[in-house]
Symmetry: C2
Subunit: 212 residues, 2 copies
DNA sequence: AAGTGTGAATCCATTCACAGCT
DNA sequence: AGCTGTGAATGGATTCACACTT
């Protein structure tokens, strides 16, 4: 599939390229140029070409890239089309929003079990997803084949719960808490820290204001 | 404040350092070493030192960094303590979760107005935040001094709404939709794409599995 | 003319290695 | 001995420039 090793930064751009390719397909454009893609992402065309060279999808000189071809290649590399069994741990307001977040379902992330310590909701279903007690984690992970976990508990118990989730056999954790979680090296972890993102945004904004 | 220009990557780490410093303060540790911080973030100590050199907070050789000093310096650079007037645009399930997301409030992001096109909720209050019709955007932004916007509308109208938000005078947009938004250069934009984050997570996971 | 593929150059980030302070 | 500060070295990612194809 891919020619060499994929630079980390390119990977993230690939998802954006993929979205643009879907959009091109929707409006029935069959060719797309590196300049088109570059403009859409606000980057240089040369970078787009470098990125796309990691794929087997060759562009045609003087013409551009075939949308159909590009879509297929990106889908393979990005693992699009695959589905994943996802657990949600921590059924607060954010957790409930994640449970019914449609883009997850569309993208193959199927939340099939939720966990919480609150006995008032354990045993119920929310948006069609059964809620288990957090103590049942290991057994449900095994019986349902859960692979990933969305962690949306309170910050103060996040590390403890993450460790338990890892011990239960989950392979990847998406951490929604504003906490630096530490796990063993063979569990994948990503942190979606919304506060941090806001901080980066306002940091840029403050610099922007100084320019006037 | 800062010595030179702050490398983009360092900025993100600064937020993690800040969290560790708060934690050190909580457990009443008054000195912290680059090795301590490095371990907490899973990076090299030399990098921590390079990062912290952008601050005026000098560590003491043979000793480490003063937690109090470091906290104060990081707070200045990161703009912690400042408060922001935030609009929420798109009051769906995710929007409601964001409205009551406590870490935002604690970090100085005060959501003081929400906007939606659904007349059933316009005029009501949700979690103490008044909901306005999307057409009132420009006037409410002006009257309330709204500076930032959390964009949590449906993907298909995201670009259109973002353009309107920008025109209404908002300076920074946090985009929660899985769409590549394009804005003029002087509006700050960040995208919190949860699907993309999941994709990166599973990309890594797939590579991890191949190693066994 | 338009647009890719790619070596070379540049820019930025990380790591090393060690002098210097406490 | 322990730990920072920092020049030098390395490594990675981006941009340039231009040959080459349609």
């Amino acid at each position: 599939m891919s020619k060499g090793i994929l630079p980390g930064r390119s990977l993230k751009r690939f998802f954006s390229y993929y979205r643009e390719v879907l959009e091109a397909e929707r409006v029935e454009v069959s060719l797309i140029s590196s300049a088109n893609l570059a403009k859409a992402l606000g980057i240089k065309a040369s970078q787009v070409r470098k990125d796309l060279n990691y794929l087997n999808c060759f562009g045609r000189r003087g013409v551009g890239y075939s949308v159909e071809n590009l879509k297929a290649e990106l889908a393979v590399v990005l693992g699009i089309g695959q589905t994943w069994n996802v657990a949600l741990v921590g059924v607060g307001k954010l957790g409930r929003a994640l449970l019914s977040y449609h883009p997850f379902r569309v993208s193959g992330y199927l939340i099939t079990a939720a966990f919480d310590a609150d006995v008032a909701i354990v045993g119920t279903e929310i948006d069609g997803v059964p809620v288990y007690h957090i103590d049942e984690l290991a057994s449900v992970v095994a019986s349902k084949g859960l692979e990933l976990c969305l962690l949306s508990v309170q910050a103060d118990i996040a590390q403890k719960v993450a460790t338990a989730v890892e011990a239960a056999g989950i392979e990847g954790i998406m951490n929604f808490t504003p906490v630096n979680i530490r796990l063993s090296d063979d569990t994948c972890l990503r942190t979606m820290d919304m506060v941090e993102q806001m901080n980066v945004l306002t940091f840029r904004l403050r610099k922007n204001r100084l320019k006037r």
